[in-house]
């Protein structure tokens, strides 16, 4: 009988439960966004009448009133990494009123020789500081459950649910053992993901500091380090000089398309780019002068500086038109035009003394 009363009250309160779910989801999403925190998913649900009836049938005697059931509104945040669960938890603690007596850190409940479901469950209320409607005091009085777990814990929980593993008696011991082993692997994988991410972040910080202090020869060239180096605007002076040829506007763009060209040119450290900059800047400017002077073109992209540095470097290495064609194909894709452009630049370079000897490109080593 009291189960019927609980279900009646549930039906009556359903709009309030839905509103609690919506408010919580909305506030969580905006707070995560404001804190630049990226998660795998945020999801919420109000327990269906069918599911609640099932729960009451199984454990009805445990609940005296509907308020004793704390998971009618359930919200879940799924993170990528295990260390993010604690960060999210700290954020949640600041946002909501937590019912500590009923909140559970299932991650700490397992014995050291057990693996399995691990998740952090908080029972919360919406404080009036977040949402207040004097007409609907229940919005601040009713509790909801907030689960925080990693994507792998989520996989485990779903698998556990699907296999009926949670009830333990329903499946033979050998399958339980297999599932336990798998849970251990998932826990280990979660730990490894967090550790690898930390190591990558440490590496990036270290490299950024080496770049910032100018220890370029100690910095290996890779996508990350090149980006950090570009943040120092190493081609600014040359780009500005090129822009003065036609009193042009300098248009900001990214030099990243040239990263692969630098690798093809055999550059191993940021120091190698610095040496190219020192050796080839005059040539790169000369080339721009030949190409732009008298054209009236009064807008140039910042990356032209690096484009011309690479062209001059290729010519200095003696890679000739084959090398230039390889560079253009690498950036713009294969096209007959690339060879024509390479030939034109090569002839310009010959006439201006940027290339001293007339190499035979067919016999040269290609930068590509």
């Amino acid at each position: 009988m009291h189960c019927e009363m609980i279900l009646d009250e549930y039906r009556e309160r359903q709009p309030i439960y839905n509103k609690i779910k919506d408010i919580v989801l909305d506030r969580l999403r905006s707070t995560l966004r404001d804190n630049n925190m990226v998660v795998t998913a945020i999801e919420g649900r109000v327990k269906t009448e069918h599911s609640l009836a099932g729960k009451l049938e199984l454990k009805g005697s445990k609940y005296h009133t509907i308020d004793d059931i704390t998971d009618i509104v359930g919200v879940r945040i799924i993170t990528f990494f295990s260390d993010e669960v604690d960060k999210i938890a700290a954020m949640v603690e600041r946002m909501f009123d937590i019912d500590w007596d009923n909140s559970v850190d299932k991650r700490k409940m397992l014995a050291i020789d057990r693996f399995g479901y691990m998740s952090l469950h908080y029972i919360c209320r919406i404080p009036t500081s977040i949402y207040h409607d004097p007409e609907q005091p229940l919005l601040n009085e009713l509790r909801f459950e907030l689960q925080m777990r990693t994507a792998l814990q989520h996989v485990w929980a779903n698998m556990q649910h699907d296999t009926g593993y949670k009830s333990e008696v329903e499946i033979p011991m050998e399958y339980q053992r297999s599932l336990n082993r798998l849970a251990g692997i998932l826990e280990l994988a979660d730990e490894q993901f967090s550790r690898i991410r930390k190591e990558i972040n440490d590496y990036r910080r270290n490299v950024q500091s080496l770049v910032a202090t100018g220890n370029f020869d100690e910095v290996p060239l890779n996508g990350d380090t090149f980006r950090s180096y570009c943040d120092l605007r190493p081609f600014q002076r040359l780009a500005e000089k090129i822009a003065t040829i036609n009193q042009a506007e300098l248009y900001e763009d990214s030099p990243m398309p040239y990263y692969n060209i630098l690798l093809r040119l055999g550059m191993k450290t940021i120091g190698d780019i610095e040496r190219m900059r020192a050796e080839c800047s005059d040539g790169a400017y000369q080339l721009a002068l030949i190409q732009l002077a008298g054209t009236g073109l009064d807008i140039v992209a910042y990356s032209v500086a690096l484009q011309n540095l690479c062209i001059v470097k290729i010519l200095k290495l003696g890679y000739g038109t084959v090398g230039l064609t390889g560079m253009f194909s690498a950036i713009y894709g294969e096209s007959a035009y690339n060879a024509q452009r390479a030939e034109r630049i090569y002839q310009q370079a010959l006439r201006s003394g940027l290339v001293l000897n007339d190499h035979h490109p067919e016999t040269e080593t290609s930068a590509s």
């Binding site: 248009y251 763009d253 732009l292 009064d298 807008i299 992209a301």
Partner: protein, 100 residues
């Protein structure tokens, strides 16, 4: 310069014929203005018969591409002749504007 704008299904085909310079840049800008109001525009610009572009033309392509990308669309310049392509190359715009 002659500008033709045709809709082919969900795609907009723009054909440019002649020189794009200061004398007709404003006209070009106003002709393509309606394209900026399209939801998720998909614009192909045929440059087969385009003989030259000035900096003004580059700026218009740039602003058109920005608007198109901001609306989740795409814009590609096709069949550029070598003289016009050189303008894009020496200014570094070949890396900025999508060209095929």
């Amino acid at each position: 310069m002659d500008i033709t704008i045709k809709n082919e299904g969900e795609k907009t085909l723009v054909t440019l014929d002649g020189r794009l310079d200061t004398t007709n840049a404003d006209q070009f800008q106003s002709d393509i203005q309606p394209l900026l109001d399209l939801q998720k525009p998909d614009i192909d610009i045929d440059c087969t018969n385009m003989t030259y572009t000035s900096s003004q033309g580059l700026r218009i392509f740039l602003s058109l591409q920005k608007s198109v990308l901001a609306r989740g669309g795409k814009m590609v310049l096709h069949n550029m002749n070598p003289q016009v392509k050189e303008v894009f190359d020496i200014t570094g715009f070949s890396n900025i504007i999508a060209i095929r």
